[in-house]
Symmetry: C2
Subunit: 477 residues, 2 copies
């Protein structure tokens, strides 16, 4: 007999004489009621064991975490809480789970403990839900762009280019590490390395993505990126997934429109496709916040917050306007900020971004036209000569979720900027070719996928929304 | 005015009074006919310039590769070859392209030359088509699995685990490379490295994927994987994208069914969604094969070949049967093979696989039940004690496109196998946990995405189906 998934059984429109279901025991009550889960849904199916006709040996092996196979009838449930349940006719143990040893017992485990067991935490309700939501969101990303005619581009992970200046990089090498070959100056001789040069893990696919946008018109990347920064925070990973669309002929306004429309689409897609998991995560968040002081609790429940984001326009504010707001706000005047804003040109810190989003505007905010000297070399200089066509999207509780810009399409202006910053033209010859041959206005942005998953799941530590997080001192599994 | 994409204009159901189109000049004939492309389709739109009323300065700047913006009327074309064309009312040059310098001139370039210009080759018809097909195939992969309820899992790229034995690995490090800290034995002290241990780039997400399948039931990965093998062939990349589904409760037969159904789905999806590009690639392949001797040409045109694969059952043959066929075949008896097959247990080489697929069966072949000692440690041992539940799918012209197996779910058997092969149990404690707690039959496979793209596009060098290939001595861009 073919096995049926728990999700299908729970969604059945009628009782069924005989079904086969495989899964893992979540709980076993009164020697009679098995809550069985197979990962297809947050919900368990209740399987009722005829304990009088089942051997004690078998009953003892129905423990949390055990894999079992059941055949029986799908019948209407007498109990509250479920429409259907299975009357077990046959039960076999596929794989035992010693209750003395299985770490995922049916009780509340700390998130820290679960992180140390990243290979097993997905067997809990919380992580099953998170990972299903993550999967649905990733599909929504692809679907959004594909429907609009964007071409998915996989930019290189190992890169010979280190001129982007987006952060510290990991070195990649196939040289014998204990005994590297040296050149005449006593330095490592990369000519003998696999690629015949120094190579690193990419920090962004943007520059390569631009070369593709200038041929295919609309492209997006969705792949892993890396930062060798020693930041042990709840918002940073050394390895994370980034989405980077790039569109020829789009200016900054088009870019903001695209980013806002995109985010709303994927949030709505999650609401439409995994509401059960989101409801569960909403209740988890409410539980968690009960232990916090009122002032630190969310204003809105998770699902209300998601609807709020998808139904309301993001507030678009220039950097200059934002500085004016911040200079005159209470926490700045009362010196409650760590970094006091006293003049135009200041780099905004997380505390300022949170004030704007959470206290002042109370909605997602798009800041644009930043000072040139606090932003990357490839952003388009405005006519004022001091700001660039950059934009950041700030989200409540998350901070920066998107960073983007209209790119500097003018060859001369770009080269001058690179010179001023000491970026090697030779190194980026191929990037400059996009401006040498058929250049045009174009724009793009980067969205850190895990920050999006954080927002949608209501989790607060980024290590909990990626299967096997990579952070300083942590590369287990 | 909002710009319209070339693809939409060509698919228009009526003439239009005024349209705006931006793109790059492919060719400019007779000072009058611009073939304009914006990457949305393989086809160009013809734009007819009123040269008598256009300044010579502008006409001279309409060169191959230049970015231009045109407004005008979409009218029925007088010429053959297109339904509509644009009568240019206004034309502006967005970005020049010096015909003396632009490398992508409208003539036949060698694939080698184009590889050296990987950032510009996508502006040619061939590479535009390949990259659109690649994108559509990647979406088909996600759509197939998501529709079936699989959860997309991103397994780690940087891994502390090096016990998989799937190939040589790249080292990842944030240590100062010229002057690495040493321990008391004079070896590199990885405790001071970013992750506090040796880390490498992943060769496969399978082991981590298994831990997720044993919780979520059905999962798939789709991400970059790496091999530091010095193979300069047309079928190997140091960095390539791999798809690895893993399903709890699936045995090897289910696994073969899944792989076959999956491949047919994505091939059909490409036929349904990028036929124009495939037709172009088919004609490219025919051109290329004209210069080859008859015996080396394909039996079928590209599109016929794709239909053939999607319409015919793959032939399933045990390793033992395959050896019998090979032992008695002409090239073996006449010693035409490099490696003569004379007994059961031989590892099959590419020449043998090609014989089976291209000469003997003339269709995709699934080989299964291989000798244990030529396959990986995690494959399930058969009752015969000498073969494992492995399967490889072999494709004409490509060779191995899928490798998979039913996994050894029995803790004791697995540990014994690991011991025999000297694989450290301590290192893989987390992998063994899947067998310690609630183990069950499960199976999965890996498909090298670029090999699939090779097959579907009819290209013959794997460096031509990934945007920026990584191979020995090559990490430019």
């Amino acid at each position: 007999m073919k096995r049926t998934k728990v999700k299908e059984l729970l969604n059945s429109t009628s009782t069924l004489k005989e079904v086969l279901v495989n899964g893992w025991v979540r709980t076993f009550r009164n020697n009679q009621f098995i809550a069985l889960n197979d990962g297809s849904t947050i919900h368990n199916i209740q399987c009722v064991v005829d304990f009088e006709n089942t051997s004690d040996t078998i009953l003892k092996r129905i423990t949390t975490g055990a894999a079992i196979s059941i055949t029986g009838a799908l019948v209407e449930s007498q109990g509250a809480g479920q429409k259907y349940e299975i009357q077990v006719a046959q039960l076999s143990i596929l794989g035992d789970s010693d209750p003395e040893k299985f770490p995922m017992q049916p009780k509340k485990h700390s998130l820290e403990f679960l992180r140390e067991n990243a290979h097993l935490r997905v067997r809990t309700n919380v992580f099953g839900a998170i990972m299903r939501v993550r999967s649905v969101l990733s599909f929504a990303v692809h679907q959004y762009f594909q429907q609009k005619g964007f071409v998915y581009v996989t930019t290189p992970i190992i890169t010979g280019s280190d001129a982007e200046g987006a952060g510290e990089m990991f070195r990649v090498s196939a040289l014998p590490f204990d005994n590297t070959p040296r050149n005449e100056f006593g330095k490592v001789n990369y000519k003998e390395d696999f690629f015949g040069r120094e190579t690193n893990l990419t920090v962004s696919g943007q520059l390569e993505g631009e070369t593709y946008a200038m041929a295919l018109g609309q492209i997006y990347t969705f792949g892993p990126t890396f930062r060798a920064e020693n930041s042990n925070t709840s918002r940073h990973l050394a390895e994370f997934w980034m989405i980077e669309p790039e569109v020829a002929f789009n200016d900054l306004d088009d870019n903001m429109d695209l980013a806002e429309d995109f985010i709303k689409y994927v949030v709505n897609y999650a609401l439409d496709h995994c509401l059960d998991d989101l409801k569960f995560l909403e209740s988890r968040l409410m539980d968690e916040e009960k232990s916090k002081p009122q002032s630190e609790r969310s204003d809105m429940n998770l699902i209300d917050k998601l609807h709020f984001v998808s139904n309301n326009q993001f507030k678009r504010v220039s950097y200059t306007e934002a500085i004016a707001i911040l200079k005159n706000c209470k926490p700045n005047k009362n010196k409650k900020f760590h970094y006091i804003i006293d003049e135009w040109g200041a780099d905004l810190q997380s505390e300022h971004e949170r004030y704007l989003v959470e206290k002042h505007f109370k909605c997602p905010v798009i800041l644009f036209d930043y000072p040139a000297n606090i932003k990357a070399f490839y952003m388009r200089l405005n006519e004022d000569g001091k700001t660039v066509r950059a934009m950041d999207i700030l989200f409540p509780g998350i901070g920066e979720i998107v960073g983007g810009s209209q790119r500097e399409e003018r060859f001369d202006v770009l080269v001058e900027k690179m010179k001023a910053l000491g970026i090697d033209e030779e190194e980026l010859w191929w990037y400059l070719d996009t401006r040498r041959f058929g250049t045009a206005v174009h724009s793009g942005f980067g969205l850190g996928f895990e920050r999006l998953v954080l927002f949608v799941t209501g989790m607060t530590n980024i290590r909990d929304v990626i299967p096997f997080p990579r952070t300083p001192q942590n590369a287990e599994f």
